[in-house]
Symmetry: C2
DNA sequence: GTGAAAGCGCTAACAA
DNA sequence: TTGTTAGCGCTTTCAC
């Protein structure tokens, strides 16, 4: 494990191991006792202005930085961070989740340390271990792994793990997930009810449990309505906007293209929308239902399967905090509801004409 | 300062001060030495499986949690977090910024601890002090204060502060900001070039330097084109979508309404767009330029003054890291460029007809 | 594979 | 207002 700071690689550490200056060095340099220096640099009162100034000056000169670990230890407090691992805060879903965790932790005086895995199981594991190894009381993770049995290592080391959005598999651990099956079913039903039969599903990565569950619900509803060849129009791998766009283009170019689409997540909803907009001039616009209530949904009239990422984060925080004091009770799984919000795009009938009347 | 954890308020601490179990207690309970327990719970090798199991069991039974502060201290490492204070991660701009900071810090083995001020100077200060008082090596803040002289306290305590998006005022400190004046000027010019004269500015809070600078640039361009009454159409206070919507409605109801609008930030761009869409049926759609390159801009053809929040975060991280080793050099201010991206909404001429031909 | 001793750098009590 | 003395709970030698 590397010293966490800051010697440029080209610069030789030199003879002196270049330890950071300590409080006692500052104290010595300023000709005061350790305690006085401590008082000054901890912002405590009861120090003569003159003395204070002298200490501040020396601290600056030496480039002093408080060793927070020592400070916390001596003060009898513990580190008060929980780690949150998501794909990338650039995705509003993850950002909302993280905000929710922070909200939920604040009342307990706990803080959140963020880390992005970029959906790589390897980075995720590195981050999780790094967070757990010291630094964090618990880890909350949107996992990119299919199996979570390795996480038992963290649990054994005394670090509780809470899985969000994607439930724990191969491990006894708390989870907060969405009711994805119901969501998929609701989307399909809604479109079926509006007369569609050829409904495509533009899905996320195949290995994602969220993706799988949504497709399961989707399929159930299709079968229930007597549509048996629904699998032909199910696609996966669209985790981002360009990916979804490409898949949509492929679907629209089919001989018998879908009259409706379901987008598997927030980013793919944008990709599908973009592609539909590009095609709007030349053909009837298919109906569309997205997952996640994106902020622009109201603007373009996007019907969505909505849920509340912030709320999800709050739940995760709650579970994590609970687990901090109670390691015994069995793992809990919270399933959050989803709601269909109709805004127009999901109510277009199969024969729908393009939005803009530019067709011949 | 409160013990940071977790006795439900109703539960009496009881006679025993209820200190968390320590490693030596676990060791004793499992009949091994302190060191062996340490090895097990730190995941080190060289422990017989049987012994390991015994320790893990006792740790679980006692509800042991590692004291990370002690662990870090003994290992000679320091806490490796920088604090990032923004308004709220729910705002994609702040989320992007935070992601950028994380990116920039990763290569240094540093981590980010997030905190949301909800744009309240009081919360911000509480958070900043909490972060700095121990826990964090430096603080990166999108400040909701007009004056930052209080932050000198953190600096003196050895915690560098970097200001992002809103530059340090009343304090010598590093800052990363956008070229807001140029941005405002570019927006106005672009609209003027497309024949507009009555251009409204739907701005953020009045006290925000970003807001002020954007309006300054905006005004300069207007004056340069001989429009002197531009102030009549400048509004402020639209920090969120509903606020922007209300202001837009007010502007559109004017006797001589604007033929073009500039939205002061990402959220207000959405608000303005929503209101324009609602009015599209009844009157010509004004031109619109937004600040911030929102993800849905491509979908609705929104012309924007773009910049890169992630990049901004990276710069902030760089400055903070630099300041960790070099407290001496003068404060630095990085001004990041903005770019106008034309997508249609900003190129509508003053006489533009509504998008959807539903008018009588 | 396991253990004993010696601190890590700081703050809390107390004393002066 | 300032200084002295003990640790905080853990990891690190180095011995066994």
């Amino acid at each position: 494990m590397s010293e966490n700071v800051l010697m440029s690689p080209e610069e030789d550490p030199g003879p002196a191991p270049l330890r950071r200056p300590t409080l006692s060095q500052v104290a010595e340099a300023s000709g005061v006792s350790l305690k006085t220096a401590s008082r000054v640099l901890a912002g405590e009162p009861h120090v003569r202005a003159q003395t204070r100034q002298r200490v501040v000056l020396q601290a600056q000169r030496l480039g002093y930085q408080r060793n927070s670990a020592a400070s916390l230890l001596a003060a009898g407090r513990s580190v008060d961070h929980l780690g949150v691992i998501t794909g990338d805060l650039t995705n509003p879903f993850y950002a909302g989740l993280t905000q929710g965790v922070e909200d939920g932790l604040r009342e307990h005086g706990l803080h959140v340390s963020v880390a992005s895995s970029a959906e790589s199981p390897d980075s995720e594991w590195t981050l999780a271990r790094g967070l757990a190894s010291q630094r964090c009381l618990a880890v909350i993770v949107v996992s990119a792994m299919e199996d979570h049995s390795r996480y038992v290592q963290l649990q054994q080391g005394g670090t509780p793990v809470v899985f969000v959005d994607r439930r724990a598999r191969g491990l006894e651990a708390d989870s907060v997930i969405l009711d994805n099956v119901t969501g998929g079913r609701a989307a399909a039903r809604h479109l079926l009810d509006h007369g569609h039969r050829r409904i495509a599903y533009v899905g996320d990565y195949d290995w994602l449990p969220t993706q799988r569950d949504r497709v399961i619900g989707f399929g159930e509803a299709m079968e229930a309505h007597g549509v048996t060849d629904w699998r032909d129009l199910v696609r996966s791998g669209a985790h981002d906007t360009p990916g979804a766009r490409a898949i949509t283009a492929e679907l629209l170019s089919l001989e018998d293209p879908p009259t409706a689409l379901v987008a598997g997540n927030n980013l793919s909803a944008l990709g599908v929308s973009l592609e539909l907009a590009a095609h709007a001039a030349s053909r009837p616009t298919p109906a569309l239902i997205g997952f996640d209530d994106v902020d622009w949904a109201g603007l373009v009239g996007l019907t969505v399967i909505a849920h509340d990422p912030v709320e999800m984060g709050r739940h995760a925080a709650r579970l994590a905090v609970k687990r901090l004091t109670d390691r015994e009770s069995p793992a809990e799984t919270i399933v959050l509801p989803v709601t269909l919000i109709a805004r127009g795009s999901g109510e277009r009938p199969p024969s729908s004409r393009p939005q803009r009347e530019e067709s011949p």
